[in-house]
Symmetry: C2
Subunit: 397 residues, 2 copies
């Protein structure tokens, strides 16, 4: 009961703050005395803070108003992707408090070096967090591959060329700082984290059931059903990048042929843009290869436009499979697919329409994420604070 | 509370019968007095019956034992498929009490004629049910197409060539008997009904999350997640037959090209077996075209074997997409796919293995349904009794 009420009051303050104790009590349906006592605990724990006084335009003493503590807990997200490593902090209100990115082709480095760079980046971010008065709660690691979440094992990440890695153990071995080593470490698939990022911080609430497509070097998807991530029996659901477009199509990094990734992955598009062999480091562009591909398309480079039409077609074929199998309310394009949506969507929609059963108009909407890059990173960090919001007593008691 | 207990006691008797009142009380955790009073209601309603006396090998008066009433409620299932119409009765214990099948190519008849034949078959079955002392509770109609369940509208059934049909209204207009017209009518997709049939009456409990593939003229799938049917946002999920195998492949009845159905549907296999234009009526075979295709394969007819290899390959490509997107514990082959499993599975498994990400062995098992034909019909009739089992008070009160 106490656990439930603590979570209820904290969520009300986080979602509706700045808000008075009286307004919280009215909203959650508890007495003012109960709410005041719970608020006291939340203040002591540092989860909420008094952020001012309400102006009710009435006579009498104005009450103090509460909000998520801006100097309170944060979740730490770490994303290790093919051409960057990034760390971010998200607070209880879902605000991104800091992002640190280090670009570079991680395929060119030994795995241990990549992990060491990642550990250093986490350490730097944590020093900055503490300087800013923030309290890191835990670390969530987003990886572009199949992850066994209960054990934190990365089974395989074809685009990185990694497999069979105990991620928390390897990060600790790579030299996490003392502050980082104290944190609980969770590991998950980047596309899944991106989908929950969209659910919590993007268009989630209006989308219904959706398939969230994130494209970078690889292409992945996160499935959200009934406002929850649908992970499948082993947590490997949503591997959209390896849906077959043409069984005898171009080779894919996964070892098979004709997978969606082999048509719409960043590498393929970069090659068409004459950016073969170009890495984030070498381009020195803070937005990486995606920005260069976008620029080439905007400049009307014919090879890039042709590659984008083909990628849009392949996305349409694969997403038609998704629609036939899962019947979602919406498909959301994010990451590189969002950046390049203007060029991808026409062919994508044409396939969705051409391949509906018996010409029935498609019922699945196609939407473009507004979250920008690092949606996975934000979802990862957010997953840490969501754990706290679901059960604050674990941290209070 | 009473509603909950009524359902609890009824389900205990149905699942564990023959069983004494005392054993039911111990199992559900209610007092013997409460159970006896509920049993009285269930006896009056005719849902359960006293089916004998228990022999406890002890002194004293033996107690009576209870079971689902063998002369009690039944669900009525009606399946209208491309080359047959079938009706069946399923009782509370899940036993099939009667199946009536009428073979014939329904594409050759006007829709009104097919509906009239279906209405007649339902009428005949209901007369037989009442003669046998059974009490029909409701009618569930299984159709090979997209169904809007809340309204009972068939949106489109490409293989029948039907669209935009108010199914309950059309059946009533086609002349349902008075007894049938009294029944509530539900409408659903045949593959979905087949999947819940497998869940309730087949291997369901041991399968975990599964994708249930039913093949006849069309190919469909029902997705079972967490022991419930996953219908998608509009109830159209599981349209496996229209997953793309090759975007420029053979034409499909749905209007697109290269759908799984165009490789593994019954028509394609029948054509390879030299059975083109042969219908259920003309062959006079009670098991229909499927049995003839099986016989041709068993006889080693090279064209049939080649078509089956290609069908198995296409199934493997499409099911790999399913595995990548949904990550189920198992794929279950049913209907025609179960009948022909010996010839389909080798190529199917080869594709599943060849197309896993980074060579990680597939975690999804491939199983073959033991339910035989008419799984959809059984699931449809079963859905009616399951509604009663979930809320018996609706019928008692």
């Amino acid at each position: 009961m106490r656990r439930h009420n603590l979570a209820l009051v904290l969520r009300a303050i986080v979602e509706r703050g700045p808000v008075s104790r009286a307004a919280v009590a009215a909203y959650v349906g508890l007495t003012k005395a109960t709410v005041s006592s719970i608020v006291e605990e939340l203040l002591v724990a540092g989860f909420v803070a008094e952020v001012g006084r309400e102006n009710r335009g009435e006579a009498g003493r104005p009450g103090t108003v509460l909000a998520a503590n801006p100097n309170g807990p944060v979740g730490v997200g770490l994303e290790i992707n093919v051409d960057y490593i990034a760390v971010c902090l998200v607070d209880l209100a879902g605000e991104v408090r800091r992002v640190d990115v280090r670009r570079g082709d991680n395929r060119e480095l030994p795995r241990g070096d990549v992990l060491r760079i990642a550990a250093e980046l986490v350490a730097t971010t944590l020093v900055n967090a503490r300087t800013a008065g923030l309290k890191p709660l835990g670390l969530a690691v987003a990886l572009p591959g199949l992850v066994d979440e209960p054990s934190g094992m990365l089974i395989v990440a074809p685009n990185l060329g990694w497999r069979d890695l105990d991620v928390p153990g390897a990060l600790r071995a790579a030299g996490l700082s003392a502050a980082a080593a104290e944190l609980p470490i969770a590991v998950g698939n980047e596309a899944n984290f991106a989908a929950i990022g969209e659910l919590w911080y993007g268009h989630g609430p209006e989308l219904g059931d959706f398939v969230h497509v994130t494209g970078e070097t690889g292409i992945g998807a996160g499935l959200v059903v009934g406002r929850r991530l649908f992970g499948g029996a082993h947590g490997y659901a949503g591997e959209l990048g390896h849906v077959t477009v043409e069984p005898d199509g171009p080779g894919c990094g996964c070892g098979a042929r004709g997978c969606l990734e082999a048509y719409a992955g960043q590498e393929v598009l970069a090659r068409a843009a004459g950016l073969s062999g170009v890495t984030g480091t070498s381009v020195g562009n803070p937005d990486g290869l995606g920005a260069l591909i976008e620029a080439a398309a905007a400049a009307g480079q014919p090879e890039v436009l042709a590659a984008l039409r083909r990628a849009g077609w392949a996305l349409g074929v694969a997403l038609t499979d998704v629609v036939h199998l899962l019947d979602p309310d919406a498909v959301v394009l994010a990451g590189l697919c969002a950046r390049l949506a203007a060029w991808l969507v026409p062919e994508l929609r044409a396939q969705l329409t051409a391949r509906t059963i018996g010409g029935v108009p498609p019922r699945t909407r196609v939407e473009v994420s507004q979250l920008g890059p690092y949606g996975a990173l934000r979802g990862a960090a957010g997953s840490v604070v969501m754990t706290l919001l679901a059960n604050p007593m674990a941290e209070v008691a």
